[in-house]
Subunit: 455 residues, 2 copies
Amino acid sequence: MPELTEQAPSGRGKMNNAFDPATAAGLDEQTRTLVDRRQRLLGPAYRLFYHQPVEFVRGRGVLLYDRDGRDYLDAYNNVVSVGHAHPRVTEAIAAQLGTLCTHTRYLQPGILDYAEDLLATHSGRIGQAGHAMFTCTGSEANDLALRMARHYTGRHGVIVTAEAYHGNSDLTAGISPSLGEGSPLDPWLRRVPAPDSYRRPGPGLGPWLAEQVAAQIHDLERRGDGVAAFIADSLFSSDGIYAQPTDVLGPVAEVIRRAGGLFVADEVQSGFARSGERMWGYQRHGLDPDLVTMGKPMGNGYPVAGVLVVPEVVAGFGRDTRYFNTFGGNTVAMAAAQVTLDVIRDEDLLAGSGRVGEFLRRELAGLAARYPVIGDVRGAGLYVGIELVRDRGSQEPDRAAATAVVNGLRERRVLISATGEHGNVLKIRPPLVFTEADAGRLLTELDAVLASRPD
Amino acid sequence: MPELTEQAPSGRGKMNNAFDPATAAGLDEQTRTLVDRRQRLLGPAYRLFYHQPVEFVRGRGVLLYDRDGRDYLDAYNNVVSVGHAHPRVTEAIAAQLGTLCTHTRYLQPGILDYAEDLLATHSGRIGQAGHAMFTCTGSEANDLALRMARHYTGRHGVIVTAEAYHGNSDLTAGISPSLGEGSPLDPWLRRVPAPDSYRRPGPGLGPWLAEQVAAQIHDLERRGDGVAAFIADSLFSSDGIYAQPTDVLGPVAEVIRRAGGLFVADEVQSGFARSGERMWGYQRHGLDPDLVTMGKPMGNGYPVAGVLVVPEVVAGFGRDTRYFNTFGGNTVAMAAAQVTLDVIRDEDLLAGSGRVGEFLRRELAGLAARYPVIGDVRGAGLYVGIELVRDRGSQEPDRAAATAVVNGLRERRVLISATGEHGNVLKIRPPLVFTEADAGRLLTELDAVLASRPD
């Protein structure tokens, strides 16, 4: 591997909202002790959030509590999708742990019941006749999806958006440009711009993106290979959150299919009702993907993830090799996933996500009218992006403002983060049980932070 | 990718002890229904154990129970290392789930306490100053270890034993020849024979293996690259279980280090007291590895795994990129890992594994005196291999006998499996709470199965 260059001063590749250990001297003693222990025990590859890292001792619903019993509003963590420490989830996992924890090489009705239930929430060919395969993490799900795509197509090319993130395994880190300039990309990876609806508004975004994809396919074919898969998170979370318009990915899927490639819908961020419109992000774009991957919120914190695949894509893979994941699909993982899906439906969190998300964006539009630093408010359901700019005319990203707001909110005990290539898009992504009252608290504190800015 | 050839008739690449769906017609109706649903819902890449697949509804200690309440002796599952449904483990996980489940970007003392405790069980440079990184699966741990090894050395070559298994991710499947001829190997993978103590007894095995490794390093260097890492499970589980002698890996580590490569000790199978001699398999060989990976038994079924690494190997990786695993090292994973380690110590399972394993091998040697099909009995602690042969003179592997014994024991409600290139090595690997009485039940049933064989 060649010597890697230092990170560009623009901040490309620098993690957004990361604590800088060089500033540890300014922390209170208890925090500094924990930070020092972390450096010593966990080493240099771990990152903390915030200028002032935070420690929690318990959580419930959308609230997290520190040692002093102060509550923090969690407007960031989508893993605990049905809320922190949901009693039904705890109970179901504990009950299964106390009964049986074993793997997929014995017969288990639980995995079949869950697979059937999960597949029935899908559309198109996967909804009709798809197969479900279970892993522990979204990274493993994307890794497996790409292995199958390459096996099926006999080709290696993968196309993603410019700042995509799809995982931490060797293969998925290699297709995750958002890990930064120091993280090597797969030689068969090609990138296209994200559908930036702020800088490229109006119709025609889909056909334009499809043209970019076609050019990359052409390049892959000129190398004697071609495209195995296009993979995208339909909310484009790490690119900067582009939830609208929803006619963008259809033309891309068309181009990919014509070239013999597969469309992988990465639902780790957008799935399980997050968008407030449909259960799955690809459904908002009217797609019929070949593979669907999912993870984070699937077991409300229990490590469970999966891949859904149309039968023909896994047929040869299943004949030539096999897939076994020791913990993936084990009885406890399936109990966790089942209860989480049940709660999403029983508490009607899809509707809640849609309703509260809309309320939040409407109120944010009001704030935008008062604070010119807000260039754009966008999102779907409870996945909201607020793009901060130096100037609405030039649309120049304002990373410093985003960093200040994220840390200002943390001081006021509201948790969010920032995303996008320039780290200037505030990322709001709370548990789905977030209410209008919770949104109100967020808005009040955000208003206060914005009002306190020097300009 | 080239067209993959059909699996060789020798059975190379065929999974040992797999159910063949073509025989489903012979199953009872309830089992057939479950098997059919599995094919439809989970697709063709999943495999079941046994000619007659088995379903369990609950477990406790070393026993698993079917729908009719009949108990099966579990002499196979090392994941539930401290026993099925251990109440302390269930309680600790449930308590943490009901309190807080969150990730490593907030400060948590639990992960630090566990990392400190875990590192203190190690020797050499890792025991003194190693860093701990947490993943969800052993595959993720090996994948991360190899990413770091390649980053550190700037080279790609990986050397493994002939039938190694190190994971199911793209990278780790690519270094896992035991997945069979249909699963593509990494272009930078090189293989050496396993230290087959049965066919190559006596001293000199270590230097001989080191010579094989040196030849592969030479080949990698001739390609303008070189060796990044040698990775091995020191029990050589998928090669056929070669627990003795323990002076084999020292000479290999020496050769690897001289060539600038790293030694990765894959402790997924051999770690956490399994060998009955030392907590970690590499300690039996007197090694000082650069990286240590672990998984399966770490959380007694909860998906938790990890990598330990000497500081210099992760320094550049931590500077150039970062590692974040959504579920890896979360508060619940750490609670599961901590209680499992506590139980291993509190119930003195290291001593138990050593004592019961020795008893079992002694008694098996008695059986071997009566059944010539038993060519060799070997192992360490509660990891035992029984090699079945057609003839003790020719040492020709007897796959059919092993398949018959594994399935015969299953009919008598004792669970084991088979391993090795020829699938002729019975693999006995029970939870560590296995007692002499449990061993007695296994021995009685094995005797009965062997006695009932036609010859």
